[in-house]
Symmetry: C2
Subunit: 313 residues, 2 copies
Amino acid sequence: MVERIFERLTVIGLGLIGTSVVRAARAAGQVGHIVVTDADPTVRQRVRELDIADVVAETSEAAVQDADAVVLCVPVGESGRVVATVAPHLKQGAILSDVGSVKVAVIEAVLPHLPAQACFVPAHPVAGTEFSGPDAGFAELFQDRWCILTPFERSTEAGTDAMHRLWEGFGARVERMEPRHHDMVLAITSHVPHLIAYNIVGTAAHLEEVTQTEVMKFSAGGFRDFTRIAASDPTMWRDVFLNNKDAVLEMLGRFTEDLSALQRMVRYGDGDGLFELFTRTRAIRKGIIAQGQETAAVDFGRRVGPEVSKKDV
Amino acid sequence: MVERIFERLTVIGLGLIGTSVVRAARAAGQVGHIVVTDADPTVRQRVRELDIADVVAETSEAAVQDADAVVLCVPVGESGRVVATVAPHLKQGAILSDVGSVKVAVIEAVLPHLPAQACFVPAHPVAGTEFSGPDAGFAELFQDRWCILTPFERSTEAGTDAMHRLWEGFGARVERMEPRHHDMVLAITSHVPHLIAYNIVGTAAHLEEVTQTEVMKFSAGGFRDFTRIAASDPTMWRDVFLNNKDAVLEMLGRFTEDLSALQRMVRYGDGDGLFELFTRTRAIRKGIIAQGQETAAVDFGRRVGPEVSKKDV
């Protein structure tokens, strides 16, 4: 017996995450009626064709009418503007939530527009792929991934609990965290890795000594792993860096300090230092696989390979 | 009808690459008799149990007796020492080759020990996984991957052709390149990506504000992709950095220059600059997928996902 959490759910923004929320909510059967919208008319049309929601509204004002919960799935830089638009149309007691990769800046942007009675439960599902748009979404995206809720003084306990159960219904594991701590954790586990990946792919595209064709042909030596995350949605990621500047710069500072030390090891031929670091980093991957956040399949299962024995992971 | 390229092939060093060469050679049926050895007695024992070679010799001197071709599959720092050991025992006309990720330093290390008549064909199959040891190898590892040959004045045309055909028989595509150019290409497509991955995984392991458990739990946001290559064999990679220092430092210099510019964009909130870079980097991935060096499957096929339409890749 599935618990009905919301009679009427509205999702604003129909990209990878937004349409995955819609698909997961329908698959889980936790909501009665799903109303969606997107600022882009071609996206709205595509979502009508995909037939994943009950109603595709023309405007966000119309979409939020009578909604018990509204989930913003727009780039984080849009959050304040969207809430300013929909606020006068929110039902009394409606729960507002989001899926942004940044939490402090979203709270700051939303707060001035939040109606007096409204509950806002900031949320961030740590899941995604390198693809964007409504066709990229799928119901299983959040399965076994973490969703972080960052309740603050404007989040009611009932609203936070409802979002908690909604995300659990999507197959996610839910954790609660301080907004500021969230931004620091994600800076190192997601934002800086993306920045570095974008950077090396950019560097490789601009060399005189090595052609782009060579970069592509011989990418299996490591480079191609970086290109996956450097193919992520540009608008979303621009907004992440603009809105989590302090934590990103702080973590990037640590990274570059460590890189200078590593560069010195290479320059001075410090084999013991290199070996020690390269041994230590193996342990982290074992932990990630043990946490169920990664596959132990050889090469991400890209190719046919041997069974992986316990001792190897 | 398979072409018999060598009557007797010797492989020295029985890790991921060495045992994959052995398995591929047997699967392809291009060699008559396969003799192997490894400096580590437990590895030799394991390879006997795996029963992938005709003879597991106790020493490299014994292993190379009567061999038509000898392929070194040892960490690049060992190349000179191994050749010094086996040189007096090489058959007249034997072809020597290797699989090292670095070519100039290997040639320099091997050259002083190379017998007057011997032919040395440096080779580098651009393939691998994050696993090490004799159990990690598999015959299909080189399928559709590139193998770069870097013939130089001590490589005969006949020897180079034989190695070319051997690697093609393993399913690889073969390219010939200047040794120095190889080292520059691989510095950007493989060595610097590994260095950066090792570095960020190391940085993440040493934060006070963020626990290791948090790093592991929330790694699906991007970080985990880096951990795969930061789990690669520490000995092999230490030797790569010690032996391709100049090219690695050169490419790392470009990377850090670009990173400083990117850091400034974040600091100054240059959204247009960020968006422009993030859009540009998408094209490189499309090229890699078009080159057949990567899968277009969502998330490396880690999870169940939608079909990927042509327009998305």
